[in-house]
């Protein structure tokens, strides 16, 4: 039987492979052997940095809690901890269910060791933030409560974390099943819906980060409600645990004990689920019928299918409307909101080009210009969706993005996407995965400048003419690119 440290080392290989898969899926661009070593090292660093980032977020939350210790702030901390923990790790846990631990069976590894390796790989997903929370929150509690409260805080954090892991394990398994099965019609729509929720998890963390200060500032507004229904709140999570730490009552102690019991059951459930990993996705067979359409429709349909089956691309599709909404809700100017929104249109369009299996299209009768055009159409559609969402926001809330600016941005959007894609292709950014982050940053800056300049010129003297001239120049260049072989 191998020692725990040996098994931990082996689980590290599976974990790195899982992180690698997640990274590759997020960047469906070419990869060359020469960059693989650098890439692997970068993924290792990124994985640790991501965990440190989440731990920092929890530390900030703990600081906010320390500034105004109360049942409400403690409860808010525990609730946010549960949901952020589950949301942050949802994608990684989904990838965990893709790992085939049976590959170990060709080596002298027992079934028991195989299960232990699976468990340790699973623990590796959460390790740093899990430990950080258990350390930080009890220390914060010590500032305003007696020593035994810190011990109770450890229990509360542990219960919240296990609850989050149960939640994320369940969701990860469901999402893996749904996302790994291609489907059409109604099933396809359901699958896409799952994909959207999966992608939204990421945005929710982003939104929480931006609204964290607001949440803690407004939390005490609920104090009267807490007083009125005190008994009820002593029974339910997370306020029962908050009462347990700050002001233990018989009811809160009893309900917290029940939570601990549930947590133990939760741990058993997690162990059972991660040790019986198998692909549950069904394989469907059906009638043979294909819809032959025009080359452009064929290309767009193919791209749409890839988007709806790639969580990373679905997320990128969602980013522009959400970014636009966030920018508006935080009171930024229309001009700034549009430019920020467009930044994500560039990332989306560029990622679509990266996802294009270039070697396949090279063997087919299509020009490079045609491929740029197809990606620009999808980028433009995403831009229109984002603008529609922003317009609805304006209608509902009275303030919002300038409609004239929206109209003005339409022609330049299309042209700039095409120019940026061509530049990205010329610089070979899509081929070099290790360099792609810097390349994308370069493309984002170029795209933003090309997009922003005509709009900025509009408000200047003779703005209409200068703006029109700048846009015309961009459109001419874009048309020239579309015509290329």
């Amino acid at each position: 039987m191998r020692s725990l440290s040996e098994l931990w080392k082996i689980s590290g290989i599976f974990y790195q492979n899982m992180a690698f898969q997640a990274f590759i899926d997020a960047r469906r661009s070419g990869r060359s052997a020469a960059t693989m070593e650098a890439l692997t090292n970068r993924i290792k660093t990124n994985t640790v940095l991501n965990k440190i980032f989440l731990s920092m977020l929890f530390i900030i939350m703990a600081m906010y809690t320390a500034m105004q210790p109360s049942v409400l702030t403690y409860a808010a901390y525990l609730l946010l901890l549960t949901f952020l923990f589950a949301l942050f790790f949802l994608q990684m846990v989904t990838y965990f269910f893709q790992i085939d631990f049976t590959s170990l069976r060709i080596y002298p590894v027992s079934r028991e060791e195989e299960q232990k390796i699976a468990l340790l790989t699973f623990i590796r997903i959460f390790d740093i933030p899990l430990a950080a929370n258990l350390l930080v929150f009890p220390v914060v509690v010590l500032f305003s409560a007696p020593w035994y409260s810190a011990f109770l805080a450890i229990i509360a954090v542990l219960v919240s974390e296990i609850l989050a892991i149960v939640l994320v394990t369940y969701l990860g398994k469901v999402f893996y099943t749904k996302l790994s099965t291609p489907a059409s019609g109604l099933k396809g729509a359901v699958r896409f819906l799952y994909q959207l929720i999966w992608g939204l998890a990421f945005f929710m963390i982003y939104a929480f980060m931006m609204w964290l200060r607001v949440i803690y500032a407004k939390i005490n507004h609920f104090a009267p409600l807490l007083q009125r229904y005190s008994l009820l709140f002593q029974c339910i999570y997370p306020t029962n645990m908050a009462y347990l730490i700050i002001n233990p009552t018989p009811v809160s102690v009893a309900s917290s004990l029940l939570m601990v019991l549930l947590t133990i059951l939760g741990i058993k459930w997690i162990l059972k689920n991660i040790s019986s990993i198998k692909i549950t996705g069904e394989m469907h067979t059906g009638q043979i019928s294909i819809k032959i359409s025009t080359p452009m429709r064929g290309m767009l349909r193919k791209d749409f299918r890839i988007i709806t089956r790639s969580p990373a691309l679905t997320m990128l599709l969602l980013f522009p409307p959400i970014q636009g909404l966030l920018m508006q809700s935080l009171g930024n100017s229309s001009y700034f909101a549009l430019v920020m929104l467009f930044t994500f249109i560039i990332i989306f369009s560029y990622s679509l080009l990266g996802s294009e299996a270039r070697s396949i299209t090279r063997t087919l009768p299509v020009t490079r210009g045609f491929i740029y055009l197809s990606k620009a159409i999808l980028g433009f559609i995403d831009y229109i969706i984002a603008l529609t969402v922003l317009t609805l926001y304006t209608i509902f809330f009275g303030t919002g993005i300038s409609q004239s600016l929206i109209l003005l941005s339409l022609p330049t959007t299309f042209a700039v996407i095409i120019i940026v894609l061509r530049v990205g292709d010329l610089l070979n950014i899509t081929k070099n995965i290790a360099m792609s982050s810097y390349g994308v940053a370069l493309l984002m800056i170029l795209g933003d400048v090309l997009f922003a300049v005509p709009l900025a010129l509009y408000s200047q003297q003779y703005g209409v003419f200068v703006c029109a001239a700048a846009m015309a120049a961009e459109i001419i260049i874009a048309l020239h690119i579309i015509k290329m072989q």
């Binding site: 291609p182 025009t294 064929g298 299918r305 070697s359 396949i360 063997t363 072989q485």
Partner: protein, 245 residues
């Protein structure tokens, strides 16, 4: 039909294909034989524009541009498929880009290669042999005059191999041409009208099996001819001698 002249492919300082020339005529199955790393795949990839190269490649007298690619069906050695799509979705994509008018031929090919039961599974979940069938069907579905196939029988079961070989014969009988690379001597011997033996990026011999036999001055089968032409016969004899000690 296909004419290649002075084709050179370099990967950095390594010369993979060194100024080779040959012609594939209508109604001809032209085989490229060579040891691993001889430059077979690089030659075929050059025709499809997948690798940088110098020299002239023409199809029916024209350089191979976008319209000419509709006259070619290409089966690469490594899988060039879109994993998240099902075979049917992939065929739909390729058929649309090729502006195909109907799917009758596709349906027949799917039936011939028994792909019906796999047609709606994701390509990533298919076995190697089934993936190869997808590539072959995608190359044949628009009934192109020229087929370029890089080790097309890799992974295929006996039945599918036989069907493909018969299809290639019918294709050339109807006036089409086939250029394919293989390392299986029996197949090349049975199937090819003409063979080019390529070694270290250069064509060392070209002609019918009979012509190659004369050039190599060997009376055996194609394997003997091939080993003699590539100079590997002496090496093999040396290895056999060493192993038998």
């Amino acid at each position: 039909m296909l004419s290649i002249s002075n084709l050179t492919v370099k990967y950095g300082t390594v010369v993979a294909v060194d100024g080779i020339s040959f012609t594939v005529k209508k109604g001809e199955i032209f085989g490229i034989l060579g040891p691993n790393g001889a430059g077979k795949s690089s030659t075929l990839k050059s025709i499809m524009g997948l690798v940088e190269h110098s020299g002239n490649i023409t199809l029916n007298g024209k350089k191979i541009g976008v319209p000419e690619k509709n006259l070619i069906g290409y089966v690469p050695e490594e899988f060039m498929l879109i994993d998240v799509l099902t075979p049917m979705e992939y065929f739909e994509f390729v058929a649309s880009l090729r502006r195909m008018k109907n799917e009758e031929r596709l349906a027949r090919l799917i039936y011939a290669f028994e792909l019906e039961k796999h047609a709606t599974k994701p390509i990533s979940a298919l076995s190697m042999g089934t993936k190869q069938k997808v590539q072959i069907i995608a190359a044949l579905m628009h009934d192109p005059p020229l087929l370029i196939m890089d080790e097309p029988l890799n992974g295929l079961d006996a039945k599918s191999s036989r069907i493909l070989k018969e299809l290639l014969k019918v294709h050339t009988e109807k006036g089409g041409a086939v250029l394919f690379s293989t390392h299986i001597m029996e197949i090349a011997e049975k199937l090819c009208d003409k063979i080019a033996v390529i070694n270290k990026g250069k064509i060392v011999a070209e002609g019918t099996v009979e012509e190659l036999r004369t050039q190599a001055q060997v009376s055996g089968d194609l394997e003997d001819i091939f080993l003699k032409l590539t100079g590997e016969d002496e090496y093999i004899q040396g290895v056999v001698n060493a192993l038998s000690k």
